[in-house]
Symmetry: C2
Subunit: 364 residues, 2 copies
Amino acid sequence: MTDGPRIAIDAMGGDIGPATIIAGAAAARRKDKALHFYLFGDESLIAPELARHQSLADAVTVHHTTESIASTEKPSQAIRRARTTSMGMAINAVKDGRADAALSAGNTGALMAIAKLALRTMPGIDRPALAALLPTLGDHDLVMLDLGANTECDAQNLVQFAVMGAAYARTVLEIDQPRVKLLNIGTEELKGTGELKEAAAMLREASYLPMRFDGFTEGDQLSRGEVDVVVTDGFSGNIALKTAEGTARFVTDLLRRAFTSSLRSKAGFALSKPALHMLKVHLDPNNHNGAVFLGLNGLVVKSHGSATPKGFANAIKVAASMVRNDITRKIGDDLDEFRAHAFNGEIGGGENAAKPVHGEGEAA
Amino acid sequence: MTDGPRIAIDAMGGDIGPATIIAGAAAARRKDKALHFYLFGDESLIAPELARHQSLADAVTVHHTTESIASTEKPSQAIRRARTTSMGMAINAVKDGRADAALSAGNTGALMAIAKLALRTMPGIDRPALAALLPTLGDHDLVMLDLGANTECDAQNLVQFAVMGAAYARTVLEIDQPRVKLLNIGTEELKGTGELKEAAAMLREASYLPMRFDGFTEGDQLSRGEVDVVVTDGFSGNIALKTAEGTARFVTDLLRRAFTSSLRSKAGFALSKPALHMLKVHLDPNNHNGAVFLGLNGLVVKSHGSATPKGFANAIKVAASMVRNDITRKIGDDLDEFRAHAFNGEIGGGENAAKPVHGEGEAA
């Protein structure tokens, strides 16, 4: 076993099944020889797949279980039987320090609930959020959260997501003062839900935070490269993410039709093929696969439930990069600093917020 | 004056200003000689623009006012002074029967509030919804609502939107039994907000409705052409619509970059240009401009606030087509029929629902 990142993988999660997951792990291992995988799932399904991938020899430890969390299972039900399931066992490996990150393509709600119960949220954070990097026309990707972990969010949740998203951008995008905006249906102050208006007011006040809060943004501005962190509730975030994926596919499908509509355009397509291949690579959701739960005392990464082997390999790459960046500690350090500056030591006044620390000059 | 559709236009609404609005009206009039416009706004700004467009001679009646609703104005404030504003006067022209439809590119929230107060909702409908046709890969467009009129919606609102959307699809898309789905963050029954689950349960029960309710759909399925009507709250609908617009522009911008990345791809682009032009026409939001408020006793159409003259002309075309289709009466007839079949005559148990009508055989 190497000293590289140890990734605990739910080999049974998602629609994709062990064959795709293990092919993804093999692809990731071919590019990154330092990786070690713990695979949790049905050994009778895993073993034959492992035999097909030379790159996984000596790179895998299998932990057998026939139980897994169904995609239709309620989170409340999933947490009760988590301990003996492939998903729960992968998360427990992180909790016990045997693995550096857990990765699953399974039921997002169950993954969130099990991870939250096993790993607990960081001080000052009430709820973890699912964050991912999305492509833009600018110099770098943008961080967007929450992408579906929390269907409904209050203002405090949104403020905490902003703080975590900014910390993530500081680490992964190496931006000192990330530009942060809240996703809304207009940029005027009076637009949107009460939660959004309240969160905006709180973030406007919080000038001590190492970020530039820039008000509201709209769905059509996301890919312009004019913002580093976009904060939203998990429902809207998921709708936006999936609509963007669907629209990108829609446009490329129309493009394919356009190119095959005449002999002339077919010739044009043949000439343009190398350039269009770059476009395809840029837009393929598999190349952006791997969303991270921020705000937990441990690293959990979510893969798209219908990823290809390449997509799953990309999620492994994200997990390994987070481990090497020591992202959990860095976000924790950022949060500590934020809380030291924040009024009463609270980030958005969350329930889990630390109690105020009295300064030396104060009366006891 | 002709017998054609009479459109009352808020000449001061939106970011675009009278010049773009009047150029749009002129473009619409060139294609449709039966149109007559009532323009509401500042005559000193309108008159010089009118003089520039030959096609508008004898096609326009100007009603002077210097007051207009600002894009930042709260709906509650807007309704108090609506009567003397360009937006309010355009809507009142519909109320008084002087015009067949009102059209504005202005403040959506104010337009909704003023229209609701002046025209009232149809029997059985608590809140109007903003509906538009979106392009798909299928044989026809899809109807999506609400696109931003109602930031928060309860289950009854969503059920009523489904009924109105289906009636709209029956009229405009000529589909007898439209396939209707609720926008959600997953297709499993347990996914989403309480409002969505409740609305789904009510629609599943309502087998008497002339539609096929098909459960939940997700953002990445919208453009596949597998659904005729997509129902959502105004917040998510607006996020989805704008994200789709932004992503389409993002992909076409990437495409432009790809095509100019080498001499070879430039040659390919030159050859493919006619085919790609079709793509551009298909994706240009201006070609889909014009969203309709459904559920009012009168026709009100909303243009994008930053439409081009071509885009504004398209919104006029939508308004004229709704007038010629007699859409308000047809949706009203559909609603009457639905209410006659519905339990207690209520559509989703709305406050405005008609009281039950006793059958002849019943005891008094």
